[in-house]
Amino acid sequence: MLPVLGGVAALVLALLAAVLLGAAELGWQRVLAEIAAQLTGGHSPLSEREAAILWELRVPRAVLGALVGSALAVSGAAFQGVFRNPLADPYLLGSAGGAGLAVTAVLVLVPQAAGTTGLAQAAAFAGALGGVGLTWLLGRSAGGDAATLVLAGVAVGAFLTAGQTFLQQLRLEDLQQVYLWIMGRLSPTGWREVLLVLPLLVVSAVVLCACGRLLDVLGVGDEEAAALGVHPGRARAVVLVAASLATAAAVSVAGLIGFVGLVVPHLVRLAAGGGNRVVLPLSLLFGGAFLVLADVLARVVLAPAELPIGVVTAFTGAPFFAFLLHRRRRA
């Protein structure tokens, strides 16, 4: 119970920091007064333009960061559980390669449509699911066990990424746009993105958290899980579909943000210990908090310019991860 409260507190504090800090100087007291005014129906201290910056830019961006971070972290935890592999991350089964290829194809082949974010988002979503689907088909035809699926994911990912690189070379002038997308970013156009991914992420997160104990059972291996009355193939399919949908939704609105899905579950496991039914909900909370804070850093460090958020997640996550690994080794 204590770690869950910690996770909720971390997420609330991160969201608060994201709302209070930004390129436009709104003043933290005035932002707090504005929030209080909205809650109690009192008089707003902000001008119309300032209120728009707060409610149409900062708040949706913070909420989107929480959703994307939660989705990536809980999916990463689920993938690590399903594959019994500490190096697993949400992009393991070809979703990154598929989304990368699809987005590049849109940017390169239909440049006049690239300005409409909707097309690129739809392409990323479909590409991510397509990549996982290909991996699933290939893995199934070769046996369908967890290790085979991982190998199939490596093959599909490499193939799709090669296709993406080929398309990029056709139109080098679009390279920067593709590159920015691959680095990942949180710059929603108001609440649209939040509403787009919210239903899918909520459903996936609920399914994944409900499967925590099932993942622990799968942890004893397929044969023993079967001896305990579980169908390992079916259980894996449910978890992989939910995690892949969450990942695809996150990728469609935020690009390929690395490291969150790999590191956050490990941080949670090292700090709180326990099996998947503890790690999954905690990853949800701390993943959201982590990405929101990373986005605050990305906006503040070089303000008014922005760092790619993927740089921040790797820059902050990697040393902390190394520290925890080191501590665990000494313990």
């Binding site: 559980g81 019994r84 500490p86 409900a210 499967c211 104990r213 099932l214 622990d216 059972v217 942890g219 004893v220 291996g221 044969e223 023993e224 079967a226 001896a227 305990l228 009355g229 579980v230 169908h231 496991r269 210990g273 326990g274 099996g275 998947n276 790690v279």
Partner: protein
């Protein structure tokens, strides 16, 4: 109290037949020892009985044929502990033993008070209560085998299938584990089927032995009929010597020259 009967069982891997026409029977609360040379199909027999391998023939628990039974129901009748259990990441001993309650829970359900009581009782009985919160990888070999046994016992199944439960244990720990299984068998009335490499121990603990060779039953009966120099020499292709020990059991040892 559940008896187990196997009739005309055949099983194999990807078209490679391993067992054919194996029949065996254990009385409720009895202990059947499965012995035989490497590759004779001892583990295959246990897996087929546990329902983990496609097989021909019949497996009956208390006279009920198991074919077509949903996995969960089968897991309430038969518990299986493999030779080399995989240990899941991050689980404590209690969490791990609780996994044995899976067939008694609703598909995505959680354990209740009663499940926890079953497990706490088992940990006490298996002398693991002091290690309840410890992570699995930190256990010694003997403690780990007891945890695996605990998980199988938590299923509260009438039949316990143990594949080489003493793998990797020294003579003292192996003896302690087999004594424990024997005591629990008497207390709970559990029927035990185990494969054992150690023929002397097999003769000491099992009421009856089945010797598998070339995919079929080569010999069966009480230890004094199966653990004989001619039978063992022929089926293990080894030079062995068998002596009666002062405690009435039979000691099997390799012979030189």
């Amino acid at each position: 109290m559940s008896g187990l009967e196997v009739r005309g069982l055949g099983a194999g891997y990807r078209g490679r037949p391993v067992l054919d026409g194996v029949s065996a029977q254990v009385r409720p609360g009895g202990w059947l020892g499965v012995i035989g040379p490497n590759g004779a199909g001892k583990s295959t027999l246990l897996k087929a009985v546990a329902g983990l391998l496609a097989h021909r023939g019949e497996v009956l628990v208390d006279g009920t044929e198991l074919r077509g039974l949903p996995r969960r129901e089968r897991a309430r009748l038969l518990a299986y502990a493999p030779q080399n259990p995989q240990l899941p990441l991050g689980l404590s001993v209690t969490d791990y033993v609780l996994l044995g309650r899976t067939p008694h829970l609703r598909p995505l359900g959680r354990e209740g008070r009663a499940d926890l009581e079953v497990v706490e009782g088992l940990l006490e009985r298996l002398d693991l209560a002091g290690l309840a919160g410890r992570a699995l990888p930190t256990l010694s070999g003997g403690e780990r085998q007891r945890a695996v046994l605990g998980r199988a016992l938590a299923q509260r199944a009438g039949v316990l299938l143990l594949d080489e439960p003493t793998t990797g244990l020294d003579v003292g720990h192996a003896q302690a584990l087999l004594e424990l299984v024997d005591e629990l068998r008497a207390e709970l009335g559990t029927t035990v089927v185990s494969t054992l490499h150690d023929l002397t121990a097999a003769g000491q603990y099992a009421e009856e032995l089945v010797l598998l060779h070339d995919g079929g039953v080569a010999a069966r009966g009480p230890a004094e009929e199966v653990l004989t120099q001619p039978v063992l020499s022929r089926h293990y292709d080894a030079r062995v010597q068998v002596w009666p020990a002062p405690d009435g059991s039979r000691v099997v040892a390799p012979a030189r020259g």
